[in-house]
Amino acid sequence: MSEKAIICKDLTKQFGDFKAVNKISFDVGQGEIFGFLGANGAGKTTAMRMLCGLSFPTSGEASVAGFNVYRQQEKIKASIGYMSQKFSLYENLTVYENIEFYGGVYGLSRKEIRTRGEDLVNRLGMVNETKKLVAGLPLGWKQKLAFSVAVFHRPKIVFLDEPTGGVDPVTRRQFWDLIYEAAADGITVFVTTHYMDEAEYCHRISIMVDGRVEALDTPAGLKSRFKANSMDEVFYQLARQAQRSGD
């Protein structure tokens, strides 16, 4: 992976005396699936907000899709997609209206929205649902739609904040198929999850503890370094040293 989608050097965010994110450094390659793990309160959300151009770092450097996090926040926003479990779709708009809305926000033409929109609902098997309100869809469908909408404008990077909570094990795996497809298309995937088996699907994983990146490697590399059989054990060994708790 020659090109870097994200470059991060000593990135820090301080609230008063509290270092929410404390000098984190890492690179993410184009088309990589990068798992961003950490206990509640470790600083994941704060770090992600800086990388998405939603908050200014206190110090350190970072570029996302080639744009500077201090000076080019709007360019970053146009180059990324974002999906979280809590907020992504408008429940009282239909499936197709959501697609149109997001396509419009990201500056796609009517024609592009129409052709890509058709392709999207076909791939998701939602052709008969396009005129239904999102509120009435099963959670698993909402998650797949939310992801597809987040990559609808073909961003360089998509940020996924705990995308798969609460669904059945088959639907959860179908969701990861979408992630793999996106990565195969060259989209960089930056994902947080509480499911440790999903951490194994990532190319590389970083684990944050108390604002710092305590470990960063491939899943196999981490397991051998911590002499653990599963990512669960790796995570537990690292996260239980945490001094601070909670968000």
Partner: protein, 318 residues
């Protein structure tokens, strides 16, 4: 001795019968048992909790808690159960101590009276006694909610997804707390979407779309897995997954961490057959072994039996 909780043919619907949330569900929870309701969002778990805690009426069927009928004896039940709903439901602008005091008073008791029951959990949040509950971290909120549900020394504890959205370390701590409560002979009905937590329960019900697919000990559910299960991996994981999934000789194939778990259509075949398949697809660094199933394997298996093969008909995989 009669069971602590019984449900018989419970049916619950919403939206004037248009949405069926719970479909003829029956099971019992024994005294001092940790019983897990395992299933995804929308499976009907919360409806069952609300019905048992006398907050919702079932359309049909019957249920008892400590021998009391959920409809006739609803007031008596409310004094004898503790309920921790899935959504944080304490008073956000009251402090930790005020919340606990409030729940103790409502149940006509005091914090001191049953202090031994909550001591171990409460001491962990006591340093934050004067903090408003809304300003606590996720893990601490969870501990406070558990204390409030326990303060009147209930005989049955209902915990609706207490560990959802909580990190792996806090989840583990929470289950250790439950184990100690169980020793006090409190019956516990707990729900979770995390399949790995199922093995921490004495017995479990696997639930999906309002239907109970199986009720048994985790060990028995695992033992009932009907076929040989294999785990395989290769250098290019995603290609292997796609190739195996579309291969006619393979019956099921799902990603499980760094491995794919698969079963064969022909039970007489074995690892060497799978190895040959992998060679045919040119898989590098290929490994395959027979493994024992996990609860998640069993759950997926039961889901497929329930409504055909959900994976193939959701279009994602052609």
């Amino acid at each position: 001795m009669q069971p602590s909780v019984t449900l018989k043919d419970i049916v619950m619907t919403y939206d004037k019968g248009r949405v069926k949330a719970v479909n003829r569900v029956s099971f019992d929870v024994q005294h001092g048992e940790v019983f897990g309701l395992i299933g995804p969002d929308g499976a009907g778990k919360t409806s069952i909790f609300r019905m048992l805690t006398t907050l919702l009426l079932a359309d049909s069927g019957s249920a008892t808690v400590e021998g009391l009928d959920v409809v006739k004896d609803y007031q008596a039940i409310r004094n004898r159960v503790g309920y921790m709903p899935g959504r944080f439901s304490l008073y956000q602008d009251l402090t930790v101590h005020e919340n606990l005091q409030f729940f103790a008073t409502v149940f006509n008791t005091s914090i001191e009276e049953n202090y031994d029951l909550i001591k171990e959990i409460y001491e962990q949040i006591k340093p934050f006694n004067k903090r408003p509950a809304g300003k606590l971290s996720g893990g601490m909120k969870q501990k406070l909610a558990l204390c409030c549900a326990l303060i009147h020394k209930p005989e049955v504890l209902f915990l609706d997804e207490p560990t959802t959205g909580v990190d792996a370390v806090s989840r583990k701590e929470f289950w250790d707390m439950l184990k100690r409560l169980k020793e006090q002979n409190i019956s516990i009905l707990v729900s979770t979407p995390y399949m790995d937590e199922a093995t921490l329960c004495d017995r479990i019900a696997l639930i999906q779309n309002g239907n109970i697919m199986s009720v048994d000990t985790p060990q028995n559910i695992l033992a009932a897995f009907p076929e040989k299960l294999y785990a395989a991996k290769a250098k290019d994981f995603y290609s292997l997954l796609k190739q195996f999934r579309s291969d006619p000789a393979i019956s099921s194939c799902y990603a499980f961490g760094e491995y794919v778990h698969l079963t064969l259509k022909d039970e007489a075949k074995n690892e060497s057959f799978i190895k040959e398949l992998a060679d045919k697809y040119g898989a590098e660094e290929f490994e395959v072994k027979i493994i024992a199933p996990t609860i998640e394997d069993s759950f997926i298996r039961l889901m497929r039996e329930d409504d055909g093969s959900p994976v193939q008909n959701t279009a994602m995989h052609e």
